[in-house]
């Protein structure tokens, strides 16, 4: 007799493809198909397991970005495209996540600047892209339209749809063949509801990633961790409305007291460690993409993920 795990699953995580290489009409050097898992993360035979991906976060206006990252990166943060390129060549993430923080300014009007930023980043890195658009419903429509258009053909992941504002982003994703991040505030039911809302306006499930919202370690992460576990569990139990891959980012990790107040010579190490503990736990809870901001968190995560998922199953060269 060999003792096995006893969970009885009757569902699997749906798949989603991010990035489009030349063979698929884009210009990315590689693309990923995520999902397909039939068990808990890292549990069961390895063949059904996709390797989780690491996304490096950058932005186009470092004004509201973490000063720790800004200091670490120096002038690079003022050149969005250059920043993306540096991340790829020096830290080797799997994905670049571009936050259009410039749109957060009050009375933002510079819509024509968006395509410029996006195509700059697309040129400087060959990695698949996540683009975070507006945070304000009144400019959503225009921002997402521009994001979608500028990255047309690249099958980017557009963020972020919420229950109160999902129509504009869905329209852009459908028009330009992109995927969507669907974010809900740390609640499995709200996550499910948003997926249903998207489905009901015609967004297919293989275009949606769930972002259950991740609180920083020590600042609500426990809720996020359990919500991710619950979503994965429900999906494996056959709930189609939750059977999407998950993306986790703890945007506040670098602003919490423990990181801010670390000794000067330990600041970067603390920042990276904190992001690592959070992101790696998220991976174990079931996240397929984890996002970090401090470049030094990337090698830590890579090493840990590699030791569990030695093969690069997610990649399609």
């Amino acid at each position: 007799m060999t003792l096995q795990t006893q969970n009885i699953w009757n569902g699997r995580i749906g798949t989603v493809t991010i990035g489009a290489d030349r063979a698929h009409g884009g210009t990315r050097t590689l693309q990923y198909t995520l999902g397909g898992e039939q068990d808990l993360a890292a549990v069961g035979p390895g063949a059904t397991q996709q390797r989780p991906l690491i996304a490096a976060e950058i932005c186009d206006d470092p004004g509201i970005w973490s000063p720790i990252v800004n200091t670490f990166m120096g002038d690079t943060v003022n050149d969005t495209a250059g920043w993306a390129g540096t991340m790829e060549s020096e830290y080797h993430p799997d994905i670049v996540r571009l936050h259009l923080t410039s749109t957060r300014k009050r009375n933002f009007k510079d819509f024509s600047g968006i395509p410029e930023t996006v195509s700059g980043v697309l040129k400087s890195t060959g990695l698949p892209l996540i683009i975070e658009g507006s945070n304000d419903p009144s400019i959503d429509s225009e921002v997402y339209q521009k994001c979608g258009e500028a990255s047309s053909g690249e099958r980017v992941l557009l963020g972020t749809a919420e229950a109160g504002r999902y129509r504009s982003i869905a329209a852009a994703a459908m028009a330009y063949n992109h995927c969507i991040i669907a974010q809900s505030p740390i609640d499995i039911n709200l996550a499910k509801q948003l997926n249903i809302l998207l489905k009901e306006i015609g967004v297919p499930y293989d275009r949606i990633l769930i972002d259950p919202y991740t609180g920083a370690l020590g600042y609500g992460f426990e809720y996020s961790y359990s919500v991710m576990e619950r979503i994965r569990y429900a999906a494996l139990k056959g709930d189609q409305d939750l059977a999407m891959t998950m993306i986790s980012a703890a945007p506040d990790s670098l602003n919490i007291r423990e990181v801010r107040e670390a000794r000067d010579d330990e600041t970067d190490r603390t920042a990276a460690t904190w992001e690592f503990y959070t992101a790696f736990s998220a991976v174990i809870a079931g996240a397929s993409i984890v996002c970090v901001r401090h470049p030094l968190a990337i090698p830590l995560l890579k090493s840990a993920i590699d030791s569990i998922w030695p093969h690069s199953a997610g990649r399609e060269a």
Binding site: Q6, G63, I64, L217, E266, W274, F280, S281, A285, S303
Partner: protein, 444 residues
Amino acid sequence: MALKALDIYKLLPKKNCKECGDPTCLTFAMKLASGKGDIEKCPYLDDHAKSVLGASTKPPVRKIKIGVGERAFVVGEEFVQFRHEKTFYHPPGIMVSVSDTQTKPEIEQIVTNVRDYVLTRIGMDLRLNGIAIRNDSNNPEQFGTAVSYAEGCADLPVVLMAGTLAAAEAGLHECGNYRPIVHCATRENYREYCSLTKKSGAVLAIRAGTPDEMAELSTLCTEAGQDALLLDLSSRSLRQFINDSTIIRQHAITRTTPSLGYPVFYDATIPDNADAALVLGILKYGAVIVIGPPTRPSEKALLTLRQNIYTDPQKPIQMTAGLYRVGNPGKDAPVLMTVNFSLTYFTLQGYLESSRVSCYMLIVDTEGLSVLTAVAAGKLNETMVRDAIKKYGVENEVSHRTLIIPGYASPLSGRIEEETGWKVLVGPRDAAEIGEYLETEWKA
């Protein structure tokens, strides 16, 4: 597994005799179903009912106490695979390893750090738990000496990573009465280890290569009279550990393999990636985890992660409602209202501190719900804001009458203005933007 109140009720005598202290059998059944009742209180249960109910209320993972005195800790007594199903009860003991090849000052430095290091978070003192002494010298005498060094400077629980029976004996000689963990017995030598540890009341970690072998070995040990056991699968790879530990937990809680109903011992120094191993140990049912001396960043992160994972998920950590100061706010300092969900509070507080604008945070009791959820659930409303302003004397603290509310609470802005008579400014939805917001919007 978990029985519904009505299922339990059907097994009860339905006499409503009140002898259990509850007014009716149904309310007693509800208590049992929620894990708060004690079946022994019902004098009229037949054996069948007792066996059904008893089996579902006794902890499937054995409770084991490690160490003595103030720093002793308890592991095991767990009921679920996922913390959201109920909660994880006993956080793992983190044991920092020293080698018997190290010098006395080296050992003492590590032990002192474990003894003294405290991280205080949300009103809780978080500490590392104990010391694991490793027999690297392969010399029982030297091992015993190293144990005496560790024992000499702190009353901490210890793991004797003895490797041999002779070393274990030498170690126990130093700390045998302090309920240490002896690591580790195998199929080959379990009899000797069992009698050795039983004699001194020590806890025995046992090691086997697979869950099957572990189940057998643990049965043998209990037959040999030792049932204070920890299970060490000595998993080489991280993946192996996740799988093994998951199997053990499941078989224990479903009571399908009761011999696996013991806490898990995990030596996180074996895999290459120490931080990753430690994270897995905490997340995946490790009960006693051995680590190397942690760096300061790791130390904080691991204690925080452990606190997070072992927080009761059904009880949101709530802040006490009230008026909190950030910096040294004066009469003209801004007042920011938000909810008492600790995540919200600490996040906002963090950004406010980094913005270096002194201000007041007015925390309203939303039963620990976030702004978004509280607004949606009607747990945050204008009268609560009004009452909070009155109750916490905000009007005496500041000379202005302007309140900044979270972006997600914007639907309430008009009603708050009407109710409080204060001018309401809608702040950003994202706390990260608060610094910039205050800079541009507040100087009014």
